[in-house]
């Protein structure tokens, strides 16, 4: 039974479909694993034991009735606590939503249920997805299963840790500046930020609307593709959702190949601040791609140097407005409602008590950046940088003739919990390589490319594709994954210490 937790999602689905195991057995195995290790890992904020088992029973019943099962039917999943789940708490890692039970399902939640995916529970995250370590969660940090004293990345550290600790074979993340990819990189898992608009944002609590994008997290490229296919697609409830067919990601993941592809190495993503072991593994990845038949060229994206600055104006600006609704009037925390205070005072006291430091920092920053007299200099300039970054990508993929770009996912491996907690700038640098993709709206993946020799922690390789060409990530990713697994003799995660 313990073997069930080591299976990939594709394998689990096949075994359930063939009747080799039941969905209930699979779910129980994962619930038992959570029971056994989550006290240490703290990947979950809420485990929906009954709901998960009910979903699993439904899958088994469907199978018994001879109904056709979907490609992920009965596969357990860890859902980032940023997606609304009807009847199940949704906190976004914040005290301000403690106890809130949403009356509606996010479109993504609905799609998962329709695909008969078994939702185990909600995973920990940096409050409102603001952070790169999950230390900003109001409910305590999550440990990296490779080394519980280190961060699992963020903001989706709960989802990445759930995968790396075998608590779930699939997870959902959201990526505003790297919150899927950086956690994947530092936990030795796979994470994909789809093209902006590929996955509906309806029911995904907003941090920065123009950057936020939900996406799949898994232990293998194929599993990520299967999940990608299940959650992507046009949603009339999200105006920014893409009204076009989902790229053939599963087909690409089953046919990994880089022969004849032109792969661009982003010149800007190395140098000061990059850990030697990270660069070493990245360089090996470049060599591997060449061996696999890709042509590798260096690509200059000069505007990427401005990405972090632009991001830290746009994201806080949007969040200052998005988070205004948390005013104690309709839902969530309410502080100071003793009959003597005005609505305004209750709102102020609630926000003071309910938001953590990083959220307050960004709300203040964004409020300032949008102020009259500063708007043009800050928000306006940042939007111009965004255009320049988009042009750098267009140039690389256009006249540069590059099929995908690659870089390290994040400059360092997982750092110790507490190390950067009081140094926001150091924390922000973790997203240096991932942010340009959010600003431009195109797609990117992180997948494991080895362990850094100096600390034995996982290193992530980032693959970046043009918008709407998400399938390219999977085609390249699957080829790289297969080659590395062949070289290592097993998936990287098998080297992780057992919990």
């Amino acid at each position: 039974m313990t073997d069930l937790i080591k299976l990939t999602a594709a394998e689990i689905a096949a075994k359930i479909a063939s009747g080799e195991v039941t969905a209930v057995q699979v779910t129980e195995a994962h619930l038992a694993r959570i029971e056994a290790v989550d006290e240490k890992v703290h990947a979950f904020l809420h485990v929906d034991r009954e709901g998960a088992l009910a979903q699993a029973r439904e899958v088994d019943a469907k199978r018994e009735r001879g109904e056709k099962l979907g490609p992920l039917a009965g596969v357990p999943l860890a859902l980032k606590d940023i997606f609304t789940t009807k009847g199940i708490p949704t906190t976004v890692g914040s005290k301000i939503l403690e106890g809130w039970i949403p009356p509606y399902d996010a479109t993504l939640t609905r799609k998962l249920k329709e695909a008969d995916v078994v939702i185990l529970g909600k995973t920990n995250m940096d409050e409102f997805a603001m952070g790169s370590s999950t230390e900003n969660s109001a409910y305590g940090p999550t440990g990296n299963p490779w080394d519980l004293t280190k961060i699992p990345g963020g903001s989706g550290g709960g989802s990445s840790a759930a995968l790396a600790s075998y608590e779930a074979p699939l997870a959902i993340g959201t990526d505003t500046g790297g919150s899927i990819r950086q956690p994947a990189a530092v936990t030795g898992t796979v994470g994909v930020k789809p093209t902006y608009g590929a996955v509906s944002r309806y029911g995904m609590v907003a941090f920065s609307s123009s950057l936020d994008q939900g996406g799949p997290c898994a232990r293998t490229v194929l599993d990520a593709a299967l999940l990608h296919e299940a959650i992507a697609g046009h949603d009339p409830l999200d105006s920014t959702s893409i009204d076009a067919p989902v790229p053939p990601v599963v087909e690409a993941a089953r046919n990994g190949d880089v022969k004849g592809m032109r792969v661009g190495v982003v010149k800007q993503f190395r140098g000061e601040g990059y850990q030697a072991g990270v660069l070493q593994r990245f360089d090996e990845s470049v060599e591997l791609l060449k061996e696999l038949g890709a042509e590798v060229v260096e690509v200059d994206c000069p505007s990427f140097d401005l990405a972090l600055a632009a991001y830290y104006l746009i994201a806080p600006s949007e969040c200052s407005s998005n988070l205004a609704r948390f005013d104690a009037m309709r839902y969530g925390l309410r502080v100071g409602d003793d009959g003597t205070k005005s609505a305004e005072e209750v709102t102020a006291l609630t926000r003071e008590a309910g938001f953590g430091d990083e959220v307050k920092r960004r709300v203040i920053l964004g409020t300032y950046a949008l102020s009259s007299g500063y708007y043009d200099a800050y928000y306006g300039s940042a939007q111009k940088v965004r255009t320049l970054i988009t042009r750098d990508f267009e140039k690389a993929f256009g006249e540069g003739g590059v099929d995908v770009l690659i870089s390290p996912t994040t400059p360092t491996t997982a750092f110790p919990i507490g190390e950067r907690a009081d140094d926001p700038m150091a924390m922000y640098l973790a997203d240096l390589c991932t942010i340009p993709t959010n600003l431009a709206g195109n797609a990117a993946m992180s997948l494991p490319c080895g362990l850094a020799p100096e600390d034995g922690m996982p290193v992530g390789l980032q693959i970046i594709a043009p918008a709407m060409a998400d399938d390219r990530l999977y085609r390249v990713g699957a080829a790289v994954e297969a080659a590395f697994n062949a070289r290592w003799g097993h998936p990287l995660l098998e080297e992780a210490p057992s919990l």
Partner: protein, 502 residues
């Protein structure tokens, strides 16, 4: 409330020149809200017409109501505006408990319609052109009900109740350019503009624009400058002036108040003002200095609105005749005075009369019944003409029955009474009540003979040339026929039988 010694209106105008800006909010009559599928029906249980989006629940997203955009374009076109080829929504950020997201989804520097005008007709027939700055789309807020205070305002209240049914109802905000040169007629221009705009909105069919229900709300911005100067003075913003009469009164009051402050050496504070229906005064609201900062930025949850030129032209072709043009045309067709036309308009009878004429009645008869008997009955019942239980087709039928001589006016009034009482169509009432005019010449002749015989003295007077005395005999015949005779015909018969020329 501090009392202000107002300057008389005449004195105010002798020294100062008023400049106005009018901001009108129109609630569109779309079936659903601007950014979600909730109903816009008025009068529902509080918070029964809400969903995650219009409650601003975490994770919810807006989707633009296409009919809302279409209505905005129609309004823009009718106001002779340019229609943006590409425009975005913007967030207007400020905190208020009845605003679910604590930002209003509105438009800022990219309104859907801009640079237009509306010609309004003043009471003496003069046309005054009001220039339009912009018309933009936005959403309404919820409603706060402040409980426990004396005034219904938040001051002194013990708590407040929030109703979000109105939150997200589509609004079009129409902003004029500064209205200059109206002089002493500024209040009249303000009223005429709002009246004309209301007619326009109704004619477009985009809203019922009922001011008393808050479907159309007006802010009157006003400043004075010394006569002969160019620079605008500091303005006050009188909010939510919600009837035509109030618009005129508010403008007038503010002119007098500003003049009083300015002529006594004081300065006008840039502030909002509350208008009071009881006495037509305004009182200070909140100070609006330029520090007020809504931190507008483009709404990232919505895609830009890009009305295609073909579509805009299609909508332009489909625009109805402008109310002022139509009114003037009808006035000429019906041959009535400006004053009478104004009365017809005020009574809400224009469309009813048009429909009655369309159903076959002549203009004079249609107007006579709607503005006479029916107006009286509506007045008695305290309802609008349109709310009476009689259709223009039924009124037209009454007109036809009178025209063919089957009914006289007195009988026609009884028929109308019957229709209003639910006795059916005019013909059914005529049959049911036995109201047809006695047109049988034989029966009528007998009745006339009897009347002459019974009133020999009067008959002699008539024979001797006192034709006016015939009225008494007509009355006798009418009495005998219980009013069902055609009085004119009776008179003819009497004179005929007595050998007198009528």
């Amino acid at each position: 409330m501090t009392t202000i010694d107002l300057v008389s209106y005449e004195d105010a105008l002798a020294s100062y020149d008023p400049v106005m800006g009018l901001e009108v909010h129109v609630e569109l009559g779309t079936r659903t809200k601007m950014f979600c599928g909730c109903s816009t029906e008025l009068g529902a249980e509080p918070n029964s017409q809400t969903c995650p989006t219009c409650l601003g629940l975490p994770g919810s997203l807006p989707v633009v109501n296409a009919i809302g955009v279409e209505s905005a374009v129609k309004i823009g076109l009718a106001l002779h505006c340019e229609i943006a080829e590409w425009c975005r929504f913007a967030r207007k950020n400020y905190f208020y408990p009845d605003m679910p997201k604590n930002f209003q989804t509105s438009q800022y520097d990219e309104p859907i319609a801009f640079n237009g005008y509306l010609d309004v007709q003043l009471e003496d027939g003069e046309i005054f052109r009001v220039e339009i700055e912009r018309a933009h789309m936005e959403e309404d807020t919820g409603k706060s009900l402040h409980v426990g205070g004396a005034t219904g305002r938040i001051h002194g209240a013990s708590h407040s109740l929030l109703d979000y049914n109105r939150a997200g109802i589509p609004l079009i905000e129409i902003v004029t350019k500064p209205i200059e040169g109206a002089g002493e007629r500024a209040p009249e221009v303000a009223k005429a503009y709002v009246a004309e705009l209301r007619e326009l909105i109704k004619a477009l069919g985009v809203s019922e624009a009922r001011m008393e229900q808050g479907q159309m709300r007006c802010d009157v911005n006003l400043s004075l400058r010394p006569n002969g100067t160019e620079k605008f003075g500091t303005r006050s913003e009188t909010k939510n002036v919600n009837s035509l009469r109030s618009v005129e009164r508010a403008a007038r009051f503010e002119i007098q108040r500003h003049a009083a402050v300015l002529s006594s050496g004081g300065t006008i504070v840039q502030e909002t003002r509350h208008f009071h229906e009881e006495d037509g005064s305004t009182t200070a609201g909140r100070i609006k200095d330029n520090a007020e900062d809504y931190r507008y930025f483009p709404e990232p949850d919505l895609v830009p609105v890009a009305p295609s030129r073909e579509w805009v032209e299609e909508l332009r072709k489909g625009l109805p005749e402008l109310p002022r043009v139509r009114r003037n045309r009808l006035r000429e067709e019906w041959g009535v005075s400006e004053h009478d036309m104004q009365s017809i308009l005020n009574a809400g009878a224009v469309d009813l009369i048009v429909a009655t004429i369309d159903a076959g009645a002549d203009a004079a008869s249609a107007r006579k019944w709607w503005m006479g008997e029916l107006a009286r009955r509506a007045n008695e019942a305290g309802t609008d003409l349109a709310a009476l239980e009689i259709t223009p087709e039924q009124v037209a039928r009454v007109c036809a029955l009178v025209a063919e001589g089957s009914l006289n006016d007195k009988l026609a009034r009884q028929v109308i009474e019957g229709v209003l009482a639910g006795e059916g169509d005019p013909d059914a009432v005529v049959a049911g009540r036995g109201l047809a005019v006695v047109s049988d010449e034989g029966a009528l002749g007998t009745a006339v003979d009897e009347a002459i015989a019974a009133n020999a003295g009067i008959a002699d007077k008539i024979r001797s040339g006192k034709v006016a005395a015939a009225g008494a005999l007509v009355g006798a015949v009418m009495k005998a026929t219980r009013g069902q005779a055609d009085a004119a015909r009776v008179r003819e018969l009497i004179l005929e039988k007595l050998g007198v020329e009528g």
